[in-house]
């Protein structure tokens, strides 16, 4: 059910995104930062699901809050002539890699456990 909703959402988003008008080039920088922030939230969400403390409210607020906050900070940085968006990229992408590493380890462990169990079962069968 959840996966279906995600896939449908992605498909509709891609379809409309391909056919929609483009934004002015100046604002594409802000949109890029917002996308990175949102992606960070998504990986954070997956990490939380693995840890079994996923909370939809926190996820949604992080998704939109981070995106909007990063846009505002980038704007502020542009006004102050400081490349704050660089800091945002470092933080978000760094966290993304962290979360990805944790997710990878989790699934790798699962995979190894699964194989060991299979081996045990095979051994049991042979013994029988």
């Amino acid at each position: 059910m959840i996966f279906v909703a995600i896939i449908i959402g992605c498909l509709i988003g891609a379809l409309i995104g391909i056919n929609s008008p483009i934004i002015p080039y100046t604002y594409s920088g802000y949109l890029a930062i917002a996308i990175i922030a949102a992606l960070d939230s998504v990986f954070g969400g997956i990490y939380a699901t693995i840890n079994k403390n996923f909370d939809l409210k926190i996820f949604v607020s992080g998704f939109f809050g981070n995106a909007i906050l990063s846009i505002l900070l980038t704007y502020l940085g542009q006004k102050l002539n400081v490349d704050i968006y660089l800091a945002a990229i470092v933080v978000f992408v760094g966290r993304m890699f962290n979360n990805l590493a944790i997710i990878r380890r989790h699934y790798l462990n699962k995979f190894i456990e699964y194989r060991e169990e299979k081996k045990k079962k095979d051994m049991d069968k042979k013994e029988v």
């Binding site: 959840i2 988003g13 409309i16 998704f63």
Partner: protein
């Protein structure tokens, strides 16, 4: 929160994310640039785009006002015999000045810089393998000599006030930059134009000897757009 709500929220969020990514990718693709990370570069680029937009808007307005002018003129000359004659005269004058879209039979010349490794080219002077403003001038001259009534190079109409100049590594006609390959359209007597331009010893034959790719073709349906600028004068006065 029940499961349905969770599904809908996640779906909407995925929608927003993919939507944003698609738009971003398309924006970057159309901006057609090597990735420049500095916002100052973006600012400069944006300024150029803004000016272009302004120019386009102004041009559109000019077109509109020209249309209304035409309508007003037609209304004024509706019930008047003498002014309708004037109207016709005006039309002829505008056509002569290159201020109207015209069509007719004539020839199309396609010119392209010589291939770098073309060993057939007799000249080893690399400059001769490129098309310069002087070459275009010579071709236009020959076309006019052969009685061409309307000439256009890469969508730039050649009028009384047009100049063909060399600006560094580009050619400018009517103040607009154009570059190789060139497509020269000319309306006039097909036989005369074709014969004049393809005769042995013509400027085009000299150019093709140097390796420049020349292609001349007749066409019965050539349409040439009007001059997009404004023609005005300050110093000349008619003698009565």
């Amino acid at each position: 929160m029940n499961k349905k709500q969770i599904c809908i929220t996640l779906g909407i969020m995925c929608f927003i994310l993919t939507f944003a990514i698609c738009i971003q990718i398309r924006t970057i693709n159309t901006a057609n640039s090597t990735a420049s990370q500095t916002l100052t570069d973006n600012g400069l680029r944006d300024e150029v785009l803004k000016w272009k937009e302004k120019y386009d808007n102004a041009y559109e307005e000019l077109k509109k006002s020209e249309k209304t002018l035409e309508e007003v003129r037609q209304k004024a000359t509706k019930n008047d015999d003498s002014s309708s004659k004037k109207e016709e005269e005006l039309k002829i004058n505008n056509t002569l000045l290159g201020l109207t879209n015209v069509k007719g039979s004539g020839i199309i010349i396609k010119l392209q810089d010589a291939n770098e490794n073309d060993s057939l080219a007799t000249s080893d002077n690399i400059s001769k393998k490129l098309i310069h403003n002087g070459d275009l001038l010579a071709v236009v001259n020959e076309l006019k000599n052969a009685g061409a009534e309307a000439i256009e190079i890469n969508n730039q109409r050649i009028t009384n006030t047009s100049s063909i100049t060399c600006e560094g590594n580009v050619t400018k006609i009517n103040g607009e930059k154009i570059g190789s390959p060139f497509e020269i359209k000319a309306i006039g007597s097909q036989g005369l134009l074709y014969g004049q331009l393809t005769r042995p010893g013509s400027y085009l034959s000299l150019m093709s000897d140097d390796g420049i790719i020349v292609e001349v073709s007749k066409s019965d349906d050539i349409s040439i757009e009007k001059y997009k600028g404004v023609v005005n004068f300050e110093y000349i006065k008619a003698i009565k």
